[in-house]
């Protein structure tokens, strides 16, 4: 359409509403969205925490014990509790939404979203068990 009457493109009398800075408080689903997005910060923190652990372990028995003591600090524990909640939230939303992006077809029929989400959760359980076994030992 390159011949549209042009003068309708802009009209000074249209009322344009601006989104408030707090738009994400307007609706429950927006709040959940923002919380989901903020989970990324806690993911970053988790990585930092794990890297600190790695460093401590590399420094030998002593470093490891210092780390264990530091991780008992209520502030650190508090931070980790919150992080765990967010990371868990991330995992659940991620596994639930994954079927949206992946459409798997078996013999022409679309595999139901529930199956895909289900297999995601199965993988999650498996990985968690494996990791726990590796660390804690059989």
């Amino acid at each position: 359409m390159n011949e549209q009457p042009k003068y309708t493109d802009f009209h000074p009398r249209w009322f344009r509403r601006r989104m408030s800075t707090y738009w994400w408080l307007k609706r429950w689903s927006y709040v959940m969205f923002i919380l989901r997005e903020l989970s990324s910060v806690f993911i970053a923190w988790s990585i930092v925490f794990l890297l600190l652990l790695t460093r401590a372990v590399s420094q030998g028995q002593e470093g490891y014990e210092q780390f264990l003591a530091w991780s008992k600090n209520p502030v650190v524990v508090g931070l980790n509790v919150i992080s765990l909640l967010f990371v868990g939230f991330h995992a659940v939303t991620w596994f639930n939404l994954a079927p949206k992006a992946m459409v798997v077809r078996l013999r022409g029929r679309r595999v139901p979203a529930l199956w895909i989400a289900g297999s995601n959760y199965a993988a999650w359980a498996l990985v968690s068990a494996l990791v726990a076994w590796l660390i804690l030992g059989g």
Binding site: E37, F49, L51, V57, L68, N80, L84, V87, L134, I135
Partner: protein
């Protein structure tokens, strides 16, 4: 297309990071962040951890976990800043901060994981 957009790459990193962090982080955080500090479980011996960490395969997985999760963070946080605070005009600064942090973090991760005895 001459100037190839980086968005697909960033999104791939973001997605891969989303998967890995969802699979691995909850259990790791539960163990090292809560179960051990609060004494629900006895801490594993230092030797065991060194053994686990020293395994090249674990090293690789951990490296990927760090790299991808950090890019996941960078990507998501960048959009959160755009939308949540409506500061899209600071685009360049935000990108520098987010992806910069992810790159630095990844380099640190390589360094640390490489130096596990």
């Amino acid at each position: 297309m001459t100037r190839r957009s980086l968005e697909p790459l960033l999104w791939l990193l973001f997605s891969a990071g989303g998967v890995l962090s969802a699979l691995f982080l909850p259990v790791l955080l539960l163990l090292f962040g809560l179960a051990l500090p609060l004494g629900w479980l006895p801490p594993p011996s230092h030797a065991r951890l060194i053994a686990v960490l020293g395994n090249p395969l674990t090293g690789l997985v951990l490296f990927l976990l760090c790299l991808l999760s950090l890019f996941h963070f960078a990507h998501r946080f960048r959009y959160t800043l755009y939308d949540g605070l409506q500061i899209k005009h600071l685009n360049e600064l935000i990108n520098l901060f987010c992806y910069g942090a992810a790159i630095v973090g990844s380099v640190v991760a390589v360094y640390l994981l490489w130096n596990v005895p």
